[in-house]
Symmetry: C2
Subunit: 418 residues, 2 copies
């Protein structure tokens, strides 16, 4: 069977499974999720053996330590994957939810009911835990899913797929509810992206290169974010201690993630007091600063920032710092260089806090809190399937509800149009 | 200037205008809308003169009577266009709306605030009233718009654009808030569809051919519906009189629109009583029936329906009729042949009404009401910019709110992640 035929067959079966999943009671979905969790626990040893084959191959190929770290299923990772299934089972089911209903003058009762999107394709890198995460979230939201993980994780993913298939079978759910692309042929991704008649949404998870390749080739809508160039603006009225704490957290706590701060904007009036204190803390934490000319005056000896630094997503202990004249200059910098991901202001000025919240058009905007809160779980969505920085359908962290859409439902009593 | 450069210039200016519009107070937008209405009224005679040039050219080219009808600006049409601006001014502004806020355990107050999408491209046929409609709805929702109407309406559209530009100027709004593509070069549409960096959404309005051409060429997300193959299922428990009234209305009141019924499904148990009564009413109204073999037995002499009839959007006084065994068979027919637009059930059975509402995945599902209510205004959205039958972003009739997205806003008091 050609790769094209394989993918088409998977997509057709997924669409049939999606029809069945769309009307499945919440209790049945939860049972299947708990079966998945239990099956992962029961097969933890086998899973780690298969994973060890991937890790050995990755070492042989000389992959980076960070990649091998993401690939490796430690005992705790497997336990967390299983616990994740139980947690998703305990989340509220978005399907069938009606947020409001209203009565029309002619008596029609109109509402909007949440239904699944249908079939979702998830394309990601060599992180086997994403296989379980994505499968659980799609199942809970009533969607069929086709998973395509990085080739380096193929043995781990095949093992997970086998375990999940058994759990689906024990729960009397269609096998095609959760399918893994088990070939490592790169053509498979391209073929999947052409199947707009069967697949409703593509979610790529990974680096900018992966996402750009998916977008360039997909005929199916893609929800994505390319990068997170997140800003914090420290206003002149900021409490120094709070600003220090937030700036440290946003840069240092986990520098390699998309909601870490990449550029700091500091109000001119507070820069001489604030920057030396912050620079000292950053020095101890190993953070390198690249600054604008005014920053260089305040912090002699730092490296100068270039135009490229304002656009950079370092994902590392490096920070670009710019001193700005006022709130407007800060927002103009964000508008020009930002990635529509996450921006925060630290201020004690009421009017400026409100202007920042209203006028900054990024997907997550915070007052007096770390950018690191831009995360589905932290914001109370229960889970996160990804982050969107395009405004269509979803904007910002996506939870279960973002894997559904809303149809109109109308209760009538014989009404006709005149 | 090449067409490509022209379009790029328009899109860049639209993006700048969008930034200004996104923070414009509701009152300022409403003033501009009322200025637009007044300007249309003041220039009605000029507008109709320019329109007459288009109509004369259309006659010369031998366009169909229906096309000329849609192109012609009668006195009443112009008055309705002006009144439409006032009506949009009176609608609630979706921008800035926060539907709910919640407190996280760490004290963060999290909500989602509606913001405009940015720049919207509307591509439509030779219907000058759409120029004003779309401009008004985009302006009210804080979006900049680039309008590209059918070539046959070019003089009308240029006249409208001039009038709108004056109204924007008098209201101190950026001229690029509402721009018309004033060249008739077909290449202009293609060039617009490439500008994904500047344009956030494309809404095509018109026939299936126009929409398919837009989708095939667009790098920008498109919200669309190809066609409306709308169904009514008359259950065995339906009240005969209600079923007759709804089926007449859905087919006859305005057969040329997308929410008219195209296929009628009738429960086997009620078909012998119901179909002869309905056929008699349809005969008087000039409706031609094409039926399945069972329908042919009940209504001798009608034409047989072929496989193509089940997929047909007649937009005319023609109806496909199929007798089915039960609700499941009806829903299976809809799943197989439907267009995800609008379906209705006529029933007095509680359980079946609930199953139909929950299980049919079309964008609008009705119980005991005509499919013709699938319309933004009729459902209480205040207005309609289009209908979506793809599940991403919007599903069903789209009002002002569907021209916005929601960002996360977070009020903190110094929180950091641990």
């Amino acid at each position: 069977m050609s790769v094209r035929t394989q993918m088409l067959t998977m997509a057709r079966e997924a669409k049939l499974a999606a029809a069945a999943l769309s009307v499945l009671p919440t209790a049945a979905k939860n049972r299947a999720l708990r079966e998945m969790g239990a099956a992962i626990r029961d097969n933890a040893a086998y899973l780690r053996e298969e994973n060890a084959r991937d890790v050995a191959a990755a070492r042989e190929k000389g992959l980076s330590a960070a990649m091998i770290d993401r690939l490796t299923l430690k005992e705790a990772t497997v336990a967390a994957m299983a616990a994740g299934c139980d947690e998703v089972a305990s989340l509220e089911d978005p399907v069938g939810k009606i947020s409001s209903m209203w009565r029309r003058p002619n008596g029609l009762l109109v509402g909007r009911m949440r239904i699944p999107l249908g079939v979702i394709g998830v394309i990601y890198e060599a992180r086997p835990n994403v296989t379980v995460d994505a499968a659980a979230l799609c199942l809970k939201s009533g969607n069929a899913v086709i998973l395509r993980g990085g080739t380096e994780a193929i043995h781990s993913n095949r093992a997970i797929a086998g375990i999940v298939a058994e759990a689906l079978d024990r729960s009397s759910l269609p096998a095609a509810a959760i399918q893994l692309v088990s070939t490592t042929d790169r053509q498979a991704v391209y073929e999947l992206l052409q199947l707009e008649e069967w697949i409703d949404l593509i979610i790529p998870r990974g680096g900018e290169e992966l996402i750009r390749a998916v977008v360039a080739n997909s005929k199916i809508p893609v929800i994505k974010h390319y990068k997170g160039v997140c800003h914090i603006f420290v206003d002149e009225t900021a409490e120094l201690e709070m600003a220090l704490r937030i700036c440290m957290n946003a840069k240092v706590q986990r520098p390699g993630v998309c909601n870490a701060m990449e550029t700091l904007l500091v109000h001119r009036a507070i820069a001489p007091r604030f920057l030396p204190l912050l620079a000292e803390e950053y020095r101890r934490a190993g953070v390198t600063i690249r600054g604008c000319p005014v920053t260089e005056q305040v912090l002699p000896g730092i490296a100068p920032a270039t135009e490229e630094d304002w656009r950079a997503e370092y994902l590392d202990l490096i920070l670009a710092v710019r001193v700005v004249d006022d709130l407007d200059a800060a927002m103009e910098h964000i508008r020009r260089y930002g990635s529509l991901h996450t921006e925060a202001i630290v201020t004690n000025d009421y009017g400026r806090s409100q202007r920042f919240l209203q006028e900054v058009q990024s997907s997550t905007v915070l007052v007096n809190a770390s950018t690191r809160f831009s995360d589905g779980f932290e914001l109370g969505l229960g889970a996160e399937i990804g982050i969107s920085t395009t405004k269509l359908h979803a904007y910002g962290p996506m939870g279960l509800e973002e894997l559904t859409t809303a149809k109109f439902i109308i209760y009538g009593s014989g009404q006709v149009r005149t």
